[in-house]
């Protein structure tokens, strides 16, 4: 049977049955369902929760009833198939994802962006209708009775 693993960063959830020093632990919360706790240093920082696929819809609905935060979280979990994080984490990532440090693009993308920037700067400097490579032809246009801005 297919099962979902719901992953969410939750700094406050600690497995009560965890042994000291273990990097992860697993507890069964109810029959057919279990939770996985991953720990960094002393605190649990990631919880994974498995449950049958059918349960997901009901869980999302329950979450969304808890208010906007719940709604955002359930949306996130649905759109990523499984992945939901705390709201603050989502915001942090949204704010930082535009930077090269957090989400480095491929060299190809950066090169293209660079060329695009050159094109825009050239256009901005001469104004688009008058860029040299394209103009020098007002006389030609005029001779054909065509009015151009350049």
């Amino acid at each position: 049977m297919y099962q979902h693993i719901d992953l969410y960063v939750n700094e406050y959830s600690v497995d009560p049955e965890a042994k000291d020093g273990a990097p992860w632990s697993c507890s069964s919360t109810e029959p057919g369902r279990w939770a996985l706790f991953l720990r960094s240093s002393s605190r649990s920082f990631l919880t994974a929760d498995t449950h049958a696929r059918e349960v997901t819809g009901a869980r999302c609905a329950a979450r969304s009833r808890r208010g906007v935060a719940g709604l955002v979280r359930s949306r996130a979990s649905r759109s990523h198939d499984v992945d939901s994080r705390s709201l603050s984490d989502l915001y942090r990532r949204a704010a930082a994802s535009a930077t090269a440090r957090r989400f480095p693009l491929t060299p190809l993308a950066y090169r293209l962006i660079f060329v695009h920037a050159l094109i825009l700067m050239l256009g901005g400097h001469y104004t688009y209708a008058q860029v040299r490579s394209g103009s020098g032809c007002s006389a030609y246009s005029a001779s054909r009775g065509i009015i151009t801005i350049a």
Binding site: Y2, Q3, H4, I5, L7, V9, L46, A48, T50, H80, D81, V82, D83, R85, R93, F103, P104, L105, T106, P107, L108, A109, L112, I113, V115, H116, I119, L120, L122, G123, T127, Y128, A129, Q130, V131, S133, G134, S135, G136, C137, Y140, S141, R144, I146, I147, T148, I149, A150
Partner: protein
Amino acid sequence: MQRVFGFTRNHYDRIGHLAQGFVPAIVAREILIRRSPLRAGKWLFFIVLSVCLAISACYELIEWWSALIGGSAADAFLGTQGDPFDTQADMFMALIGAVAAQVLLARVHDRQIAKTATESTHHSSLTRARLVARL
């Protein structure tokens, strides 16, 4: 340029709009491949194309607004150059750019994405957290 091709207008503006489809296509493609369940294929192609056309449409809206605000002075910046179908032509150039980028660069891009993905896996807790859904 006009002299060479017998154009009746300055086409630098068109190059700009070609780039406006070409460059965002690769950026959109990259973000979708790396951050969504989409994989290279027809749907990715279509959605990237849609994103580029949407960006181009937004730019045309801005052109329109600046023309309303700036009056005739805007004409040189806009490069409408008296062409009533300038907006449509601009968007068409973006469409050509987006198609061209995806056709010409898809393979190189996929290769580079594969490379970046393996490099960045170990410092992205997000990727690590995606322990895949199916048991």
